[in-house]
Subunit: 180 residues, 2 copies
Amino acid sequence: MTTSFYNLVDGVMRLYKLLPDGRRQIVGFSLPGDFLGMAPSGRHGFSADAIGPVTVCRFGRTAFARFAEDKPHLLRRINELAVRELDQARDHMVLLGRRSAEEKVATFLIGWRDRLAQLRGPSTNVPLPMSRLDIADYLGLTIETVSRTFTKLEREGVLDILTGGVSLRDPSRAEALAAA
Amino acid sequence: MTTSFYNLVDGVMRLYKLLPDGRRQIVGFSLPGDFLGMAPSGRHGFSADAIGPVTVCRFGRTAFARFAEDKPHLLRRINELAVRELDQARDHMVLLGRRSAEEKVATFLIGWRDRLAQLRGPSTNVPLPMSRLDIADYLGLTIETVSRTFTKLEREGVLDILTGGVSLRDPSRAEALAAA
DNA sequence: CGAATCGTTGAAAGCAGTCAACTAGGGTGG
DNA sequence: CCACCCTAGTTGACTGCTTTCAACGATTCG
């Protein structure tokens, strides 16, 4: 079993799974402070790669085992983490299975903004280091639909499209779309 | 934090999340032997209810805490479980975000068959105790699309529709649709 | 300045959704 | 025992959202 843990120190990463024919589903984006590498045994698991330059802190399986023995509450901590991840994964299932393109994009933007807020403090400015294709593969849409939806939200006065991100002109409206 | 664990002894349960407007996404079905109740802290979590009669074995949070203290490897076990669940959740994201209705239904049937096979031994007969609506809410489809897809697969000779389930007439073709 | 990549926009097609009618079981009460 | 009803499931016609295919614009980098 490959139980290496990586702690993302700086940068952004995308986690994804591929179908045999190449279709990709991004299952999450990682920000500094996030853990990676909870790969289960067997031939399962997921892939991860960097969006721009990243710094990671790697814990080998032996180093991890040593930690786990020394501090039992670390395992407890990891457990909580896994449970939180699982909850997020299930929330994303709801998004993928039951929400419209507009709701998907709005939900993504609000969620991303809130994660950034925890790191850098709140801001209506939302940097988007990932490409439109990444966003599309995260939301279960095509690149064109993502682009059109951004444009639509801009026309409606919800946001402004900037290079490398968006600015939330009407955050509450975006939040309403995300909650609905 | 509500860390009660339920062990499903007999019957079938559905786990789901709801959107404020009532849309439902079933995030998984539970079979005998499965654990439930890994609810994270805060106002998150999911709902679960029975499909038909069930028998569950409940571990209260104190009982669980006692176990966890006594046997550290139990926590380790729970951890592996959570990681497996997470992997399954991510596989389901791929299904919800990137697969067609026909692929969704075929993947569901093969997955369900394999889970039943682990409990009762292999069989081409696949009982489906859940309703079409449950299947639809699991696959991110409507009840009508599920029904039509079943009918289409029957016309194509992949399966036979029986009351309370299906029979896989051409399992390899169904597997091919599920893998594609 | 040109090439390449990324993003946007338009037109058309298609898959799944919606609305609606119909059918089939299953249980209940007369 | 049968008629009725209620729910679950199927099927049809049509709509519509998202995709597909294609062209165009913008930005970056050699």
